[in-house]
Symmetry: C2
Subunit: 431 residues, 2 copies
């Protein structure tokens, strides 16, 4: 629990709060809707939680420059809907987009289902207004496709998880809405077939808008939750979406269908209506909620590997789960190598939690060994802080700590995040 | 002149050099081919210039993950040619690409003619190996579309102009080669018509691969230099390229043709052959070389504005040139608002140089006033350092200086760059 919760109404108010907290040595935790999955906005050092429910306006949609300027508290889905009404497209679509805020998305550099083709939040942040730990207000970037005036503070603050400053306004890039979109569901009798199909699609120089993977356990949980008619007999499915000019979309969907069939898919079907397509995507987005219903504790990770290693990683996860006798369901953004192995467990059973912990350590190690990372889109937060050095090495961590200390010498901005105590375990067991 | 020039052969050698220089307080200037236009690699504080002519290998083209891994000394065009032979596409194409190195492109975050649709170098840098000012070697990112493991050091080092570390290896993103490409030349009897056509194209939700602008003086100089048949009677031309699926390219080229005609173009013609198209693009890339032949001194800037302000900015440049009685030719990447007002002058004429200086100050001020920046793609270097605060404010500069000091406390990495002495003038007059 925080010591206080404050809802500022402007950058000036944020600046006053930051100056006060700094002079008193009080931690500040900027928080959107708290949908991050890494304990990134949990006030474990106490202090003030900053909410942005009063700073939730879309300030401008600029149709000439294809930008939108927003306050941090805008709900992601509201932003997406508002620009789509003008025929414009904001691609980053974290699964939590109905609840998450854009400020949270920026601080966590959120990904989503369309990351493979369209990139992640960072690729759409053109400019920021931020309150730095000394209370100064800076403006970075602008409505500019090119800007090399000094270090890229826009990208440094994006994904910094609130540890370097408080984002108070953002200008985001929009693109024209693709004129056509098709959705397809491919069913496989074996997980490795689905994973190989992913590699084969990319090797054929097709970059689909979405290329999602779900294993059998996830399919069953999602179907039970969302009831959209997912195939319960499949071991794995791929949910494929492509957008663009109609003729090209049709050609590529046909080619991907053939590739899936060649890799052993026993059924590949196009969604017949936009509603059916939408239901499939919504069902996929509900995967975490669906799995979370199965057991008291859900631990979802996002170990990410080069896309050519997806098959190998999926296989490794399966073996690790068997070895440690834990239940791990895997789904995720197969096209960009961003998998979400999810352990459904019970934090009250101490002995099981130790096995879960051991399993995830092995998963992280395997991801790193395959050229991957410990987190693709969920952030380091506190949950992954103990493992960050595995990815970055001592030198990499040192560089990041120097930056943190230079900008926030009193460590008031979201302390305990990113830089963990090495002995810390991710899960408090036995509670 | 530097005190020494060193050509290391590996990251380990770079590390040894950096450690030695740091212990002795010797400046280090990493330098590719020196094609930057901001005195970014000029060793004005003396010291050691690091060359990368021995680290010039393409290490791997990974067709499964669509990445290329290179040493910094690879020539940009060689990289582009090597991946195009495999049907892959590396979009950043600075005009200097036949000479420039990829390490230089990364350090300067180079743009180019395809920035509007495809972004700049930064958008393609997935991972780096770099030697930091303390001699430590770090690895950032990887062959990953998603990676949020800590601060984005990849993007921080990209565009840092060698002031934070030395890049020794890079993994770059590739995309599939578009299946079709068309090129078109539109001629206008007035500059503002061309500028309005740019706005109208974007407002019609078309994002062409290239949308280049040249004024009359530039056209004449380029034609005299390149002899590709540019229209000497036009006041301004737009060079338009679109790529993608063939049907979509044809539709959009037709629509852009109509838009240009509606804005007053007196001629809009498609290039008939790939060779003709290539000649047009090559001619455009030679603009700086062509203009540089006209007078002893050429000062080229890249004030950049939101694309909706291109017409206003072009008009302002014309007025400023008249006011100060200097010759400014303007060309550039109109589609992304990145203009290159170029003054052809003579540095030996002190009085004229003061007028040139005054004119560029006004151009920078106008760019900032229109929501733009002092440099879109050429970097700050030493030339634009005096003006950086206009864009960033004192708070923004302060944040950047804190980062610089934290990573390079002895200021050995490319000193005098980005952070200028405020009283410094950009041009040494009377020499």
């Amino acid at each position: 629990m925080p010591d206080a919760v404050v809802s500022p109404g402007s950058a000036e108010e944020v600046s006053e709060i930051v100056r006060f907290c700094r002079s008193e040595g009080i931690p500040i935790v900027p928080r959107g809707s708290g949908t991050n999955l890494s304990a990134g906005t949990t006030p474990t050092a106490g202090g003030v939680v900053l909410l942005f429910n009063r700073m939730n306006q879309i300030l401008e949609i600029d149709e000439e420059n294809l930008t939108v300027t927003v306050q941090p508290g805008v709900i992601t889905k509201d932003l997406i809907d508002a620009v789509e009404m003008r025929g414009l497209f904001y691609p980053p679509d974290p699964s939590s987009m109905k609840i998450s805020t854009i400020g949270g998305n920026i601080s966590e550099n959120s990904g989503g289902l369309r990351g493979l083709k369209y990139g992640v939040t960072k690729d759409y942040v053109l400019g920021l207004e931020a309150v730095m730990p000394d209370g100064s207000v800076i403006k970075t970037g602008g409505k500019l496709a090119k800007d090399v005036a000094g270090y890229d503070l826009t990208k440094l603050l994006t994904g910094a998880e609130g540890t370097l400053g408080v984002i108070t306004e953002a200008t985001l890039k929009l693109i024209p809405m693709p004129s056509s979109k098709k959705t397809m569901l491919a069913q496989f009798a074996a997980m490795d077939q689905a994973a190989e199909a992913v590699s084969a699609i990319i090797a054929n120089r097709i970059i689909p808008a979405t290329l999602e993977f779900m294993d059998r356990a996830t399919i069953r949980a999602v179907e039970d939750f969302a009831k959209v008619g997912l195939p319960l007999e499949a071991e794995a499915i791929l949910l494929i979406e492509q957008d663009g000019a109609e003729a090209a979309v049709n050609d590529e969907m046909q080619l991907m269908k053939e590739i899936c069939e060649k890799q052993g898919a026993f059924s590949v079907e196009l969604a017949k209506t936009a509603e059916e397509a939408n239901n499939l995507m919504t069902a996929r987005r509900s995967a975490l909620s669906a799995l979370a219903r199965l057991k008291p504790t859900t631990i979802l990770e996002d170990a990410t590997v080069p896309r050519s290693k997806v098959a190998e990683m999926v296989e490794a996860i399966t073996k690790i789960a068997v070895k440690h006798q834990v239940t791990i369901c895997t789904f995720g953004h197969a096209g960009d190598g961003n998998l979400h192995p999810t352990c459904i467990t019970d934090a009250r059973i101490t002995e099981e939690m130790h096995r879960v912990e051991a399993a995830f350590e092995e998963i992280f190690k395997e991801a790193i060994r395959l050229g991957g990372t410990i987190t693709g889109e969920h952030g380091v937060g506190e949950m992954k802080a103990p493992y960050l050095e595995w990815k970055l090495g001592a030198s990499g961590i040192n560089v990041m700590k120097l930056i943190k200390q230079s900008l926030d010498p009193d460590n008031i901005m979201n302390p305990n995040k990113i830089f963990g105590k090495s002995e810390k375990k991710r899960v408090v067991v036995g509670k």
